[in-house]
Amino acid sequence: MPRTILEVKQKIEYLSILNDKAEVDKALEPKLTNEQLKHMYTYMLMARRADERFLNLQRQGRIGTFPQTTGHEAISMGASMALKKSDWHVPAYRELAGMLHRGWTLVDQLLLWAGYEQGQSPPNGVNDLPICVPIASQLLHAAGIGMAMNIKGDKHAVVTYLGDGATSEGDCHEAFNFAAVFKAPVVFVCNNNQWAISVPLSRQMGCETVAQKAIAYGMPGIRVDGNDVLAVYAAVHEAVERARAGGGPTLVECLTFRIVAHTTADDPKKYQKEETRKEWAAKEPLIRFAKYLRDKGILNDEVQKQIDAEIETTIRDAIAKMDEKIKTDELANPLYTFDYLYAEIPPFLQKQRDELAHYLGKDKESSSKQPNHAHAGSH
């Protein structure tokens, strides 16, 4: 009868494989080929360089506000590497490296930040949702995709992302809970960068780790070093395997720190300590990963040069392609605003389209353009 301790089943673990001195825990080192490791490095670096270049474009007014991803590359790179093409990938907005790996292009991203819906249109054959602006709301879509996989008996998995701030939203809770109740094959990857714009972790939650929130849903939870791409990969890989085998969702917390501004509109000097930022900047994922690759003989000055050149070309081409695309009728014509809302434009919208055409003196063009993408729903 008296007071007793109730046993809680879930144990929360912490995982680190490649530490900030680039020392690797051999026992835990994941089985990735040299090819794969080089690919990961290249895409992480591409994301980093793109981030820097986008910032310039933003300062020049050629694109609008965007969220930087510098320092976060290990998270989406490690997580997305654990997926097959047939799995699904549901990003938030700091997953540039992972999105590039999944098949999105820098042109897509540039168009998005330049204010074109076309940048949100997933490339052919890519099972991804586009980035999501309303915080945590995409987590429910990921849960639903996972539930649908179960219903259809598909043995796929879904990886989706959230920030530490996102954990506060009701949608996050409902997504965790639906996934857990329906044993949906979803891996929730939390980028805990310890800030939600200016709000620090301690103002975001009363608990010490994001991982322990998994206990509230009866799902496994693990915290990993979010600057360690090997640890992220290993943890997500394990979770994906479990998910595919019917073991339901997992929460993977990736601990890192936002060493850049929240977006190009933000000034972290107002609320962040310079020294903490610097401390964490020293632990960022690329330095240690490069060293690891050099130690393994995968990377050397020569290879690095090649990669740099490749990236430079990719970025330059992407910017040129953006400029080109923006000029095409497809992107330039404001009348197409009306053409993708419904599968078929209803009469009342056609009237509004005509109204705009009339205003633009484009009455002749006012007939409706048919959306040129096939409809989804054929999986």
Binding site: P130, S137, L140, H141, I151, F178, L341, F348, A376
Partner: protein, 326 residues
């Protein structure tokens, strides 16, 4: 042909849709073993099982949000919100995602889902169980909104909603669930969305309504004919979005007078929209201002007073007379 009430007709449509299309799944609170609090999902769980008829946790954003994911993955979710008064909990998912995915991705991803919810008053229910807020969804670009007025069109419209490639809000006027029966054909009927129905041809005035208010409208029309010798034209909108203003305008061009009847709060309502568009489109034909007979701009009162809020035949009749004698 079989006679059935509206609850049964909706149930029949769900059953038929699930039988013919394995992508159709049903989810919501108490839709499974309990068969829905209004028994609208009767027999579905027993027939189609736990995978296709899912009792969910108690979370409306969760229900709608996961339905969006399922629809994107290729299913055709028909989710139920237990009462329309609770769909506000999911409004952000509808506005920000269901209504936007096709547009946002330039047609690459789409959300073919239906959100069903019993709406409206008249059943002596608790607070939040009697709301009519279709105006909110009509003001939300990217959704379709359908409200049936009887067993036969309820079934035919639900089939259309489920087959529609875009998200549809399907409000079920709960006061009509068991109010009357109609013949419903054996073969599946599909009524196109976006078409209003001229329920009665007439002269001198057009009554425009939908959903449960069609009852008061029809009753008022009878009284008007009997007592005043005016046989009004009557239009049942059926779809709120897309709104079939062609049919409405054609009628009012003929009659010159119109009364719009709906149960919602008045400000920025569907009735306001119809009135505004009539003014815009057939201005020169109007012989009197378009009257709106609606709920008031208060929450619908607790049930002891709801009858004063919901338009009844007397209130419609009064508006008709004022319009006719303008």
């Amino acid at each position: 042909m079989a006679e059935m009430n509206m609850a049964k007709a909706i149930n029949k449509a769900l059953y038929e849709a699930m039988e013919r299309d394995s992508r159709v799944v049903v989810l919501g609170e108490d839709v499974g073993q309990d068969e829905g609090v209004f028994r609208v999902t009767e027999g579905l769980w027993a027939k189609f099982g736990d995978k296709r008829v899912m009792d969910t946790p108690l979370a409306e954003a969760g229900i709608v949000g996961t339905s969006i994911g399922m629809a994107i993955y290729g299913l055709r979710p028909v989710c139920e919100i237990q009462f329309a008064g609770f769909d506000y909990f999911a409004y952000h998912q509808l506005e920000s995602h269901a209504a936007r995915f096709r547009n946002r991705t330039r047609g690459r991803l789409s959300v073919p889902m239906v959100m069903r919810a019993p709406s409206g008053g008249g059943i002596r229910a608790l607070e939040h169980h009697s709301e009519s807020r279709e105006g909110t969804y009509a003001h939300t670009p990217g959704l379709k909104v359908v409200i049936p007025s009887g067993p036969r069109n309820a079934r035919a419209l639900l089939h259309a909603a489920i087959q529609d490639p875009d998200p549809v809000i399907y409000y079920e006027p709960k006061a009509l669930y068991r109010l009357f029966k109609e013949e419903v054909p054996d073969e599946i009927e599909v009524m196109p969305l976006g078409q209003a129905k001229v329920v009665q041809e007439g002269k001198g005035i057009t009554l425009i309504s939908y959903g449960a208010c069609m009852r008061a409208t029809l009753e008022a029309a009878e009284m008007l004919e009997e007592e005043d010798g005016v046989k009004p034209e009557i239009i049942d909108l059926l779809s709120i979005v897309p709104l079939d203003m062609d049919t409405v305008c054609k009628s009012v061009q003929k009659t010159g007078r119109a009364v719009v009847i709906s149960e919602e709060p008045r400000y920025c309502s569907v009735a306001s929209e119809v009135s505004s568009q009539l003014n815009d489109t057939v201005f020169l034909y109007l012989e009197a201002p378009v009257r709106r007979v609606t709920g008031f701009d208060t929450p619908i009162p607790f049930f002891s007073k709801e009858k004063y809020y919901i338009p009844d035949a007397e209130r419609v009749l009064m508006a008709c007379r004022e319009t006719l004698s303008f």
